[in-house]
Each structure stands twice: as structure tokens, then as C-alpha cells.
């Protein structure tokens, strides 16, 4: 899969034995403080999320239930360096179906944000991010498109306020995050 090279070998790890030294008991509390991820401890491992997840159906490694358990157990390094957390399509099926209202998709988002803090960011997100920083849009809209709009009778695309975006990126810490981090 993916262009992400460094983490390719570091999938969630089917290693049968979990060593106590791998577990960070504070991790779940760290996660719990993040907006949207407050309910991580409520997961009782029923498996509804995995059963209903469209991605899990076609992936050998993506299992939201397992990710919730690994988070509770504090297997921080294994999770954050894994490609697998980037497979959620944010379809919110699990969010609607979870009997404990765990908010799985937001927890996965929180895990991804932490992974980025640790320097793991898939190339596609790096590209989307730098495009927003440079143009205000997630995709670079080619000059040709702008000209075509005129031919098609569409109004010109409003000019983005790149200065404002730059300011907001600075104050939210987004731009800093971006400059320093390597592509995972």
C-alpha cells in the first residue's frame, strides 16, 4: 500500500505477546483530554465498529475495535507509527452504530494528530496541507481551470486570502508542525 515508506514495515504488529514495557498507562488519559476523544474508556470491545466498517471489510489490517483496545492499553508507539490509523475513511458508520457512543472516528483523528506531532505524516496529507497554506484551497487549481470557468459562463473564483490563512496557520501551530515534520 501507500507511498509511506518508513512505517510500512511497522503495521500494527501482529506480535502475539504484548510486553508490559510497551504499554504506556498514561496514554489513555492523554487521549481522553482531546476534544471528541473523551469516551475512549467506554469501549467494551463488542466489535460492532469493526463488523460495520467498510474499510475493515477490504483490509487485512484495519480493525477499529482493535485500535480502541490498543489505545486503552497504551500501545502508543505501535499505534502512532502505524500506517493503519490512516485508513479510516471517516464515514461515521461506526460512530452511529457504537452502543457505547465511543466516537471512534474522532479518537482515530486524535491518534492521527498525535502521530503527526511525532513526525508521522503520509505524503498525501503533507501535500494537502502545503496547498492550503499556499493557496487557501486543498488542491492547486490550475490556471487552465480559471480560464475555462469564463468559457463555461461561471463567475471567477474568489481570490483566497492567503495572508489570513498564514496567520491562522501560525497561531494554531499548524505551519510550524508542517515545516519541521518529515514525510513518513
Amino acid at each position: 500500500m501507500s507511498e509511506t515508506k518508513e512505517t510500512r514495515e511497522k503495521e500494527l504488529g501482529e506480535k502475539a505477546v504484548i510486553k508490559v514495557s510497551e504499554m504506556d498507562p498514561r496514554f489513555k488519559y492523554e487521549i481522553r483530554k482531546i476534544p471528541g476523544a473523551e469516551k475512549i474508556m467506554l469501549c467494551f470491545q463488542c466489535g460492532t465498529c469493526t463488523a460495520d466498517c467498510p474499510i475493515a471489510r477490504f483490509s487485512d489490517s484495519y480493525r477499529p475495535r482493535k485500535l480502541m483496545r490498543m489505545t486503552q492499553l497504551g500501545l502508543k508507539d505501535r499505534i502512532l507509527s502505524s500506517d493503519v490509523i490512516w485508513l479510516c475513511a471517516a464515514c461515521f458508520t461506526c460512530v452511529d452504530h457504537c452502543p457505547q457512543d465511543v466516537g471512534i472516528a474522532s479518537i482515530i483523528r486524535a491518534l492521527r494528530n498525535l502521530a503527526v506531532d511525532e513526525g508521522f505524516i503520509p505524503r498525501v496529507y503533507k501535500e494537502l496541507g502545503s496547498c492550503v497554506l499556499k493557496t487557501g484551497y486543498a488542491y492547486r487549481i490550475p490556471e487552465l481551470r480559471h480560464r475555462k470557468r469564463e468559457e463555461q459562463g461561471l463567475p471567477p473564483l474568489p481570490k483566497a486570502n492567503v495572508e489570513s490563512i498564514a496567520k491562522l496557520s501560525d497561531v494554531t501551530g499548524f505551519s510550524k508542525l508542517f515545516e519541521e515534520k518529515k514525510v513518513a
Binding site: F58, L87, V124, Y125, L157, V171, F174
Partner: protein, 293 residues
């Protein structure tokens, strides 16, 4: 009836490569007497960056909301992703004072403040709730009678229920009703509400293609002549990538993927050219010939 005037939020995918949606949406909006005001200096809705930085997502979405608040207009967007995101952020910031303060702290740097005075609508929500089915039906001049299609809502117009609360996410009927008022029949098929898979393209391309292939197979099985979408991202998955799916699995689909606004536009009597049919990757000529359009 309330005045039908909205601030149009285009988002990034439509201007990037799905102009047929914008062209047809503007046409049908005009016909329905809906006034669309361009949003000045808008930016990405924030959704693509949520996995990188939740704070940046919130701030980008909130900035767009502020721009609409300044002009005292509700937002209407054609993309389910943009609609879902801005809707969720709008609700969250209205409810969570602490988070609102935090985001407003960021926005202050650019002279903006989120107040929470407007609403966010997706196209089909605007059509069903604000315009109303009767009024839309009255504009149909050329019923698309023999046509049989299938619908794909797109996740973010249905889920999470907690924030969207629009249609029944397990058995959505609103888009079906909107389709059937054009005279076309909307068929049921297996796993209708399943995700198109597009959000993980770039991280993993195999799974989205498998998901999209499955959907195309399911709609073929019930005899649908076209798939109708209401999101540029989902549309891309089924139209732009359809030939790629055919090659990858050595199967033939040839199923035209229409934006709902193209379908409605045909029924209103617009020509295929006026509705951007030429921009579609999967040729719809056969279907148009059958309709005599």
C-alpha cells in the same frame, strides 16, 4: 415562504475538477428562484486537514462561517464533506463555550469572530426543506419517465446522526424522493449507504477501488441505468475512476454518474450541454438519446 438566498460555498474539489456539478447547480438554482451569493475569500472547509490538526480544521471551517455571518446569509454547499464539516463545527462552537473562545482567539488575529448566527445547508437539504418538493415538481417540464437510476447520498450528508439529523441514515429517502419527482424511478440496491472510499485515496488506492466496484456491481444487478450523486468527491470516485476500476478488475460497467442537479436540470428542460454533460468521463449519450434530450 422565507427568502431563498444563500451564500454559495464551492469548496475545493468542484473548482478543481468537477465543473459539471457547479454548472448544473447554478442552472437549477436560477430556475427555482434561488439567489446564490458568491462567498468572498473563502478557504478550504478544513475537513482534509482534520487528520493533521484538529485546531486548524476548526479554525478554517469557522473562518468560512464568519464570512457568511458578516453578510447575514446561510451557507449552501454542494459538497457533502464541506456541508458535514461546517455544520458540525457550527454546532460544536455554538454549544461548547470553551472551544468557541479558543477558536475565536485564533480568528481574532484576522479580525474575525465566530458568533453562531447562521445555518449550514447541503444542496439536498435546501431543496427538500427550504424549497420544498412541490415547488420543485412544478418546474418539471420533461418528465424522465422510463429512466431507472440508483442514488448514492454520501456519508457526510447522513452521518454522524448526532450532528446531521437530516434523513434516516439507515434508510435514507429524501434524495430518492427528489429523484422521483423528475419522473425517473429510483431503485433500491444492496448496501446503499456504504461509503465511496474516496477519502483514503492517496493513502491506499486499492480499498477505495474495491468499494466503488462493489457499489457499481450492486447497482448494475438491479438494472440501474445511471448513478446519481450529490457530492463532488463521491462523483469523482464513480465517474473519474470508473475506467480505472474497469481496468483493475477486468470488468465493464459504463454506468453514467450524474449529479442530482443534472438529472433535475434535464427534467426542467435544459439541454445536456447547458448542464455540463460534456464534462462527464463516462459517456451518457445512450441514456440521453433514450430520453430524447
Amino acid at each position: 415562504m422565507a427568502e431563498l438566498k444563500y451564500m454559495l460555498f464551492l469548496g475545493c474539489v468542484i473548482p478543481y475538477r468537477i465543473s459539471s456539478y457547479e454548472i448544473s447547480a447554478r442552472k437549477v438554482a436560477e430556475k427555482l428562484g434561488i439567489e446564490l451569493v458568491e462567498m468572498p475569500e473563502f478557504n478550504c472547509c478544513g475537513l482534509p486537514l482534520d487528520p493533521v490538526s484538529h485546531d486548524m480544521m476548526l479554525t478554517l471551517a469557522a473562518r468560512n462561517l464568519c464570512l457568511a455571518e458578516q453578510q447575514k446569509l446561510n451557507i449552501m454547499t454542494l459538497c457533502t464533506g464541506c456541508a458535514g464539516t461546517m455544520r458540525k463545527v457550527n454546532m460544536t462552537l455554538k454549544e461548547d463555550k470553551k472551544l468557541k473562545e479558543k477558536v475565536n482567539g485564533y480568528l481574532k488575529e484576522t479580525g474575525l469572530e465566530f458568533k453562531g448566527t447562521i445555518k449550514v445547508r447541503h444542496l439536498i437539504q435546501m431543496l427538500a426543506e427550504d424549497v420544498g418538493l412541490e415547488r420543485i415538481k412544478a418546474t418539471v417540464q420533461k418528465p424522465l419517465n422510463p429512466l431507472k437510476v440508483a442514488e448514492h447520498n454520501g456519508c457526510h450528508v447522513l452521518r454522524p446522526t448526532k450532528y446531521i439529523g437530516f434523513d434516516d441514515p439507515e434508510n435514507p429517502t429524501i434524495l430518492k424522493n427528489l429523484i422521483e419527482l423528475t419522473g425517473a424511478k429510483c431503485l433500491d440496491y444492496m448496501d446503499e449507504t456504504e461509503c465511496c472510499g474516496a477519502p483514503i485515496i492517496g493513502v491506499n488506492d486499492v480499498i477505495p477501488l474495491q468499494l466503488a466496484r462493489e457499489k457499481l456491481n450492486h447497482i448494475m444487478a438491479v438494472g440501474a441505468q445511471a448513478l446519481v450523486t450529490v457530492c463532488p468527491f463521491c462523483h469523482m470516485m464513480y465517474d473519474l475512476h470508473q475506467s480505472r476500476i474497469e481496468r483493475a478488475f477486468n470488468e465493464k460497467f459504463g454506468i453514467p454518474v450524474l449529479h442530482y442537479t443534472q438529472l433535475l436540470g434535464l427534467a426542467m428542460g435544459f439541454s445536456p450541454d447547458e448542464l455540463g454533460f460534456k464534462e462527464l468521463r463516462v459517456n451518457a449519450t445512450k441514456l440521453l438519446d433514450q430520453l430524447g434530450s
